[in-house]
């Protein structure tokens, strides 16, 4: 596969891909990769979410792609503009690990699980079914989604590779 065909999504970023393109994001730790797609239209959006909730932000001008509660509505809206049908949208979710086993239990240390909860909440509020997920644990993940097949490829350093 030509690497030009892979859309790369950075941290706190959102992008879209139409088959035969693939869409990918690397090095998810506590961040969560949320793929929302319409399999028939073969289009997908991927958000690399860093924080659960935009109300946590102390910024005047916030980056909507950084937070679960702002990135996910944006992905849904843009997908529909690009021809996806809202009722047909499905989601796959990966990430939200805890990279270090901290003893202190400050809320910031639990950011991975909180990101996952926030993503699930958002998807539920839009009635978007989560067809597959690979969340939690303590491994980093690189994910790549194929809008053609709906398969999400997940690579880890220590726990091998899988498709969900």
């Amino acid at each position: 596969m030509n690497s030009d065909n892979i859309v790369r999504v950075g941290i706190s970023d959102v992008k879209f891909a139409q088959a035969p393109q693939l869409i990918r994001t690397s090095g998810l730790g506590s961040c969560v990769g949320v793929v929302i797609y319409d399999q028939n239209v073969k289009i997908a959006g991927l958000a690399h979410v860093m924080l659960p909730d935009s109300t946590l932000s102390k910024q005047a001008q916030l980056n909507p792609f950084k937070f679960a509660d702002t990135a996910i509505p944006y992905v849904i809206e843009k997908l529909c503009e690009k021809g996806a049908r809202k009722f047909a949208l499905k989601a796959k979710v990966a990430g939200g690990a805890q990279m270090f086993q901290f003893e202190t239990n400050s809320p910031m240390m639990r950011i991975g699980p909180r990101n996952v909860e926030a993503v699930f909440e958002q998807l539920e509020s839009y009635r978007i079914p989560i067809l597959a997920k690979c969340v939690g644990g303590n491994s980093g993940r690189t994910i790549q989604f194929n809008p053609e097949t709906g398969a999400l490829y997940i690579r880890t350093v220590n726990k091998g590779e899988s498709f969900i």
Partner: protein, 210 residues
């Protein structure tokens, strides 16, 4: 103050902090391994989170990351980052008989990881104590947390605190290497929390708006 507005004086001060800290750390590492270790001139940059990943060879790159949370007057994070090969060379230097396989070692209490954490502790301890003496500020640091994983996943831990306030991080980056075969290049990355910057600057006698 946003980080984009760092003046050249402020950058110089942060660079000097990197110099002092890493200079001290290099000496410790040199004593520990009985090798000559050199330090590159530190760089101070204001980078986006995505640019941050490039510092450590891309977010997908597998690295050995030691993370310390700094508390006290100037909260923030310090990373000591090594490649797999560098980490293994470092452990072998300390325990020549060890059977070292950083990537496949599942026991987080193994000799390998204990040795790496101990090195991290000594080296980072000297990095931070130099800073704290120089600035006359209290900087305590956590125990070492070690992870062998993707660089992006490891570095994000230190960015979470910062990311609530901004989309840029101030990185004080110092590379160290041994004089001979470049066996252990390592990277020190200091990520001050945004609230720590005014405290650092005022401890060093420069105004925030200078």
């Amino acid at each position: 103050m946003t980080e984009k507005d760092l003046s050249s004086l402020q950058k110089d001060v942060l660079k000097e902090i990197g110099n002092i800290g890493a200079g001290n750390a290099t000496t410790s590492l040199s004593e520990l391994t009985n090798k000559k270790i050199q330090m590159e001139v530190p760089s101070v940059q204001v980078v986006s989170f995505n640019e941050m990943m490039d510092f450590i060879g891309g977010s997908d790159q597998t690295v050995v990351g030691l993370y310390f949370r700094i508390s006290g007057d100037t909260p923030g994070a310090v990373y000591f980052i090594l490649t797999i090969e560098e980490a293994e060379a470092l452990v072998k230097q300390m325990i020549p008989s060890a059977d070292v396989d950083v990537l496949n070692d599942k026991d987080t209490n193994s000799y390998t990881f204990s040795a790496l954490k101990e090195v991290g502790n000594i080296v980072t301890g000297s990095y931070l104590s130099a800073l704290s003496d120089f600035m006359g500020l209290d900087m305590s640091y956590s125990i070492p947390y070690l992870s062998v994983d993707m660089a992006g996943a490891i570095i994000t831990v230190g960015l979470v605190e910062i990311s609530q306030e901004t989309d840029n991080a101030i990185v004080i980056n110092t590379e160290i290497k041994d004089g001979e075969k470049n066996q252990f290049n390592g990277q020190f990355i200091l990520l001050p929390d945004p609230e720590a910057l005014p405290i650092i600057f005022s401890a060093l006698g420069i105004q925030n708006n200078e």
